[in-house]
Symmetry: C2
DNA sequence: GTCTATAAATAGATAGAC
DNA sequence: GTCTATCTATTTATAGAC
C-alpha cells in the first residue's frame, strides 16, 4: 500500500526515495548504503530487511521508473485524440514523468552508458513497449495520410534524448553558469514545445 | 609525444586507453584500477607513477575528450562554408568524435547525470566554447538572412543529445535485441543525416 | 520492525627492491 | 620505468539482541 496523506511514509518508502536520489547522484557503484540509510533517517539494516541487497533495491527503482513511464505512455497512445495530439502527448508524458521523478533522467543516462547491465526482462518489456507504442502512433498517422513514414527509432531518439538531456543536465548547467560560462537559459515549457513542434514537423514531412 | 606507427604504445598510453574504456563501462566510482592495469597489461603501480591517482587519471581523460571535440568544432566554425555547411559539419564533427573515441558518449552521459562533478575550469571552458561556436554559426546564418533566430541551447540539445544517445545506447540496443524486443534498427549515417536535416529545418524556419 | 556490533571482502594507494 | 607485497580505509552484508 503506497503512502497517502493520512498514512505517513514507512521505512520502506523513505529508503526507496533516498535510494533513488542516491543512485541518481552517484550511480549504482558509487551509491553508498550508509548514506542512503542516513538520508532516509532509517537504520541501515532495514535496507536488507526490506530489499535484500543494494542490487535488488536498485532494480526495484528501475522497475518502478519504467513501469510508471510505460503506463503513462499507454494512456496517451490509447486516448482518442488525433495522431498529432498523441505525439504532443507523448513528449509531454516523458517530460512530466521526468519532472515527477527527478532521479529518472540521471539514472536512465547512467543505465544507457552502462549498456543496460541492470535491465532485466521486465524493464526490457517496458522499454520496448514504449517504442512500440510510439511506432503505433506514427503508423496511425501514416494510415490517416497525415504522417510520412519515419523510422520510429529516429523519432524516439529525437524526443527521449533531448528531453532527458534537458532534465539530467540541470545541475551541470548551473555549474557552468557559476563557472562564468555564458550559456543561454532554457525553460521547461520552451523545450517541450520545441520538441513537440520539431517532431511533428518531421512526421508531417515539412523538412523535405 | 603521442604514439605513432613507429613508436609503440608506452605504458602511459596503454593505461590511458584501458582507463577510458573502464570509466565508460563502469563510471568513475565503479571503475577498478586493478582491472585497468590488467586490461592494459601494465603493472598497477604504473597508474600512480604516471597519473598520481584514479581521480587525476579520470580528469585527464575528460580533458582530452573535450579538448579534442572543441578543436574539431573550432575547425568547422572557422571554415569558409555557408552557415548550412557549418551546421552539417557541426553534427558530423560530434558524430565522428564520438566514433573515434567510443568512451566519449558514455562518459559524457555519466558526467551529465552526476551534475559535472568532475568538470574543472579547463573542461568548462571547452564545453561553453562549443556552445559559443554553435551560437556563432547560428548568428552568422541569421545575419545572412538564411536562419531564423533560435535559442542556441535548443539547437545544441537537439544535436548533442540524440547523437550521444545513438552512440551511447549501442550496447543497450543490442541487449534489447537479444531480449526479443523488436526494436527498429538504426544506422549511423541515417542518424547523422536525419539530425542534420532536422536542425537545418529548425533554423530555416520550416516548422512554423 | 528496529538497532548494534561486526564479519568479510574489496579496492585505492604506497614502500621499496630491481 | 617496472614489479611485488602490503597497508589502510571503505563498504556490503549479516548475526543476534530487543
Amino acid at each position: 500500500m503506497p503512502p497517502t496523506a493520512t498514512t505517513p511514509l514507512g521505512s520502506r518508502d523513505k529508503l526507496f526515495a533516498a535510494a533513488a536520489a542516491e543512485f541518481a547522484a552517484h550511480g549504482f557503484a558509487g551509491a553508498n548504503v550508509d548514506r542512503i540509510a542516513r538520508a532516509a533517517a532509517v537504520n541501515k539494516a532495514m535496507i536488507y530487511y526490506h530489499f535484500e541487497s543494494k542490487a535488488k533495491l536498485y532494480r526495484q527503482i528501475l522497475c518502478d521508473m519504467f513501469h510508471a513511464v510505460g503506463e503513462r505512455v499507454r494512456i496517451v497512445a490509447g486516448s482518442d485524440g488525433t495522431p498529432e495530439d498523441k505525439i504532443r502527448g507523448f513528449v509531454e508524458a516523458i517530460a512530466s514523468e521526468a519532472e515527477a521523478r527527478p532521479h529518472f533522467p540521471p539514472i536512465w543516462f547512467r543505465e544507457v552508458a552502462e549498456g543496460g547491465t541492470h535491465v532485466d526482462e521486465e524493464v526490457a518489456r517496458d522499454l520496448s513497449g514504449i517504442v512500440q507504442m510510439l511506432a503505433g502512433i506514427i503508423q496511425e498517422g501514416v494510415g490517416a495520410g497525415r504522417f510520412q513514414p519515419v523510422n520510429p527509432m529516429l523519432v524516439h531518439g529525437g524526443i527521449i534524448a533531448p528531453v532527458m538531456m534537458f532534465f539530467a543536465s540541470k545541475g551541470l548547467r548551473e555549474r557552468l553558469d557559476q563557472s562564468g560560462a555564458r550559456i543561454p537559459h532554457l525553460e521547461r515549457q520552451q523545450v517541450v514545445e520545441h520538441i513537440q513542434r520539431v517532431t511533428l514537423g518531421v512526421l508531417e514531412g515539412k523538412l523535405s
